[in-house]
C-alpha cells in the first residue's frame, strides 16, 4: 500500500454556512434548473441522533452537503479537567453510549501508558472478553437501525432481542445496563460474579446461530443488495485521506485493525481473522461488521477458556498507589487504610508528561490523549472520536448520490452522536 504525492487525494469538506450561502444566492441556470437547499435534521429519525445535514439538492440528487454537529456537545473534555482521573471514567461512558467499555478502555489505557502501569493478566483477559461483548452489542444496534432505515423491519427486532441479553450480562456484572464504568486504571472495578462466565458462555452459544439468521434476512436479499451494492463507494486512498477507521476503512480493502497491528490488552495472543472488504460500498461495510460479530464470538470464547484457568488471580493491580486495597484489609492494616484514604480523597498522581493510546472500538480507532502536570487531575484529555472523524467523510461519499441513499449512507458509517459532539 505505497502512496505517492500525486496519488494522495485532496478532498473538499464544505461547512453548513457555505451551503446556506448557496440558498441565499440561488439563481436558475441557463436550462432553468435550480438547486434546493434542504435542512435535514436535527430531529430526523434516520440521522441516528441529533445530527443536522445541510443538503444542496438538484432534483433528487445530492449536489453537496455539510454535516452540522454540536447539538449534543456537553464539554466532557473540559469537565474531565476538573475531576480526578478515576472519577472521570463515568464521563467516558457517556460519549459512545453504545460501546461504553471501549471508551473506558481507551481512557484507562492512556493513563496506564502514561504511568507505565501494568495490568494483571486476568484483568486483561476479562477486558478482552468485555470489549468483544461490547463490539457485538454495538454492531447489533447498528445492524438493527441500518436495516430499519432501509425498511427491513424484522432485523431490528431480532437484533434488539440479542442485545437485551448482553445488556442483562452487563447489568449482572456492573449493575448498569449501558453506563457500565467498569474499568479502572490497573484493572477492573471489582471481580466478576460467580455466574458470569456460565451466562456469557450460554449467550455465545445462543448468539452464533442468530448471526446466520440476520444474514438469511439480508445478505442475499435482492432489495437489500439493490440498496447497498455499489452505493457509497470509497476507495482505499480516499478512506485513508479522510481518516476513516474501523469497518469503514476495512471495507475499502485496507487491512488495518489495531487489535492486530498495534495490539493492546494481549490481543496478539488470540486467534481471529480480520474481515476485509473490497468494493468499499455499503454492502461491504455490512459484510465486514456482520463477520466481525462472528470473530468477536471466537475471541470471547478463547478469553473465557483463559479466565477459567486463572481462577483466583487478581482482577486489578496490587500497586496500592493506584488501586485501592480490598475493604477487608483496611480493618487490620494501617498502610491499607492510608492508601484507601489517600486514593479516595486525593487520587493518584501520574508523572508529568503526555500519552496517546488508541484501541479498536466498534466504530474505529478511538484514541485518548492525556496530558498530566503531576497533579491528581488531568491537565488535558482529548478523545479521538471515531464517529466524529468518520462523519466527516459523508460529504465526499454522498456527493452525487440520491437523497434516499443518503439515509443508507449515514447508517453505514455508523455514527454515534454522543461521541461526535462529546
Amino acid at each position: 500500500m505505497v502512496m505517492h504525492a500525486h496519488a494522495y487525494p485532496d478532498i473538499e469538506i464544505p461547512t453548513p454556512s457555505q451551503i446556506a450561502a448557496v440558498a441565499l444566492n440561488n439563481e436558475p441556470d441557463e436550462n432553468g434548473e435550480q438547486s434546493m437547499v434542504l435542512s435535514m435534521g436535527p430531529q430526523h429519525p434516520s440521522t441516528h441522533g441529533v445530527l443536522r445535514l445541510a443538503v444542496e439538492l438538484n432534483g433528487e440528487n445530492v449536489v453537496q452537503l455539510a454535516p452540522d454537529v454540536g447539538f449534543l456537545h456537553t464539554g466532557i473534555e473540559k469537565t474531565i479537567e476538573t475531576k480526578t482521573y478515576t472519577k472521570s471514567i463515568v464521563l467516558t461512558d457517556r460519549m459512545d453510549y453504545l460501546a461504553p467499555m471501549s471508551n473506558n478502555m481507551v481512557y484507562v489505557a492512556a493513563i496506564e501508558k502514561l504511568m507505565q502501569q501494568d495490568v494483571p493478566e486476568r484483568a486483561q483477559t476479562l477486558r478482552v472478553l468485555l470489549l468483544e461483548l461490547t463490539r457485538i452489542n454495538s454492531h447489533l444496534v447498528w445492524l438493527g437501525t441500518h436495516a430499519l432505515d432501509l425498511a427491513a423491519m424484522s432485523v431490528f427486532f431480532y437484533a434488539m432481542r440479542e442485545r437485551e441479553y448482553i445488556l442483562d450480562i452487563f447489568e449482572m456484572l456492573t449493575g448498569a445496563r449501558m453506563m457500565t464504568s467498569y474499568f479502572r486504571v490497573g484493572g477492573l472495578a471489582w471481580d466478576i460474579p460467580a455466574d458470569f462466565i456460565p451466562t456469557v458462555e450460554d449467550f455465545l452459544t445462543h448468539f452464533l446461530p442468530k448471526v446466520d439468521e440476520y444474514e438469511d434476512l439480508l445478505t442475499n436479499n435482492l432489495l437489500w443488495k439493490q440498496r447497498t451494492k455499489g452505493v457509497g463507494v470509497v476507495n482505499a486512498a480516499d478512506a485513508i485521506a479522510l481518516g476513516l477507521s474501523g469497518a469503514n476503512l476495512r471495507a475499502s480493502g485496507v487491512d488495518w485493525d489495531l487489535r492486530k497491528t498495534m495490539p493492546y490488552s494481549g490481543y496478539e495472543t488470540y486467534q481471529f481473522d480480520v474481515p476485509v472488504g473490497q468494493a468499499g460500498d455499503i454492502y461491504d461495510r455490512y459484510r465486514c461488521r456482520v463477520q466481525e460479530m462472528r470473530e468477536s464470538v471466537k475471541i470471547a470464547r478463547q478469553a473465557i477458556e483463559r479466565v477459567k484457568q486463572m481462577h483466583g488471580q487478581p482482577y486489578v493491580t496490587e500497586n496500592r498507589k493506584v488501586a485501592p486495597p480490598p475493604k477487608s484489609e483496611i480493618t487490620y492494616s494501617m498502610e491499607s487504610l492510608i492508601h484507601h484514604f489517600k486514593l479516595w480523597t486525593e487520587g493518584f498522581r501520574p508523572p508529568r508528561g503526555s500519552a496517546y493510546a488508541a484501541i479498536e472500538s466498534p466504530r474505529g480507532e478511538i484514541g485518548c490523549y492525556v496530558v498530566s502536570d503531576g497533579t491528581p487531575k488531568p491537565w488535558r484529555v482529548h478523545f479521538r472520536a471515531p464517529s466524529f472523524i468518520n462523519l466527516q467523510a459523508l460529504p465526499h461519499i454522498a456527493k452525487g448520490k440520491l437523497m434516499a441513499d443518503l439515509v443508507a449512507l449515514i447508517a453505514s458509517i455508523d455514527p454515534v452522536l454522543g461521541e461526535v459532539d462529546r
Binding site: M1, V2, M3, S17, H73, E77, S354, Y356, G367, Q392
Partner: protein, 171 residues
C-alpha cells in the same frame, strides 16, 4: 519496514531544527510552526515512511507557560506500523499555525474543533468556523482562563433582574 532509530536519523538529516523526543514510548517531534506543512508532507510522501494516516489533531493550553498553546498531531504509517507525534508550539500573541487540512483532509473537522475550543487560527483552512459551540458563542471554552460560568437560581425577588440580564434570546 523501518525502525525508530532509522526514522530519527532520516528526520534529523532532513530537518535539522526539529527536536526529537519521546512521548510515553512514541517518537515525538517538536517542530516550528512554519515548518509543519513541510515536515508533515515529507513524512506522508516519502515512500519508505508513508505516514499517510492522520490519527488526531488537538490543542493544549499550557496557561502560564510561554508559548502558551501547543497543537498535537499524531500520524500513523500503516506500512511501518508506527506512530509519530508532532508537537507545535503556538504563542498567545499570534495564535496562528499553517493548516494541515490541505495535506490531510481528515484534519478539517479537527482543526475546526481546535479553533472552536482554543482560538488557534489555522491559516489556509478552507472553512474555519465553529463546529461544536454555537456560532455566536464568545470566547473559546477549553482555554484554561475561560470562565466556567453558572446560572443564578431565580427566585421571586431576583427573577426580573436575572431574565433582564440573560445573554441569550428574549421574547
Amino acid at each position: 519496514m523501518i525502525d525508530r532509530a532509522t526514522l530519527e536519523q532520516r528526520v534529523s538529516a532532513q530537518f535539522p531544527t526539529v527536536r526529537i523526543g519521546d512521548e510515553s514510548g512514541d517518537l515525538c517531534l517538536t517542530v516550528e510552526r512554519q515548518q509543519l506543512p513541510a515536515l508533515a508532507g515529507w513524512l506522508r510522501d516519502e515512500p519508505d515512511l508513508a505516514f499517510t494516516f492522520l490519527n488526531q489533531l488537538c490543542g493544549v493550553d499550557y496557561l502560564g507557560r510561554d508559548p502558551r498553546f501547543e497543537v498535537v498531531v499524531h500520524l500513523t504509517s500503516f506500512q511501518n506500523k508506527m506512530r509519530v507525534t508532532l508537537h507545535i508550539e503556538v504563542p498567545e500573541a499570534d495564535p496562528t499555525i499553517p493548516t494541515l487540512a490541505r495535506l490531510f483532509p481528515t484534519a478539517n473537522f479537527q482543526e475546526r474543533e481546535t479553533y472552536d475550543m482554543f482560538g488557534i487560527i489555522f491559516t489556509g483552512h478552507p472553512g474555519l468556523e465553529r463546529i461544536l459551540m454555537p456560532e455566536d458563542w464568545l470566547g473559546h471554552p477549553q482555554r484554561k482562563d475561560h470562565p466556567l460560568g453558572y446560572e443564578e437560581v431565580a427566585f421571586t425577588h431576583n427573577e426580573d433582574w436575572i431574565y433582564a440580564n440573560k445573554p441569550f434570546a428574549k421574547e
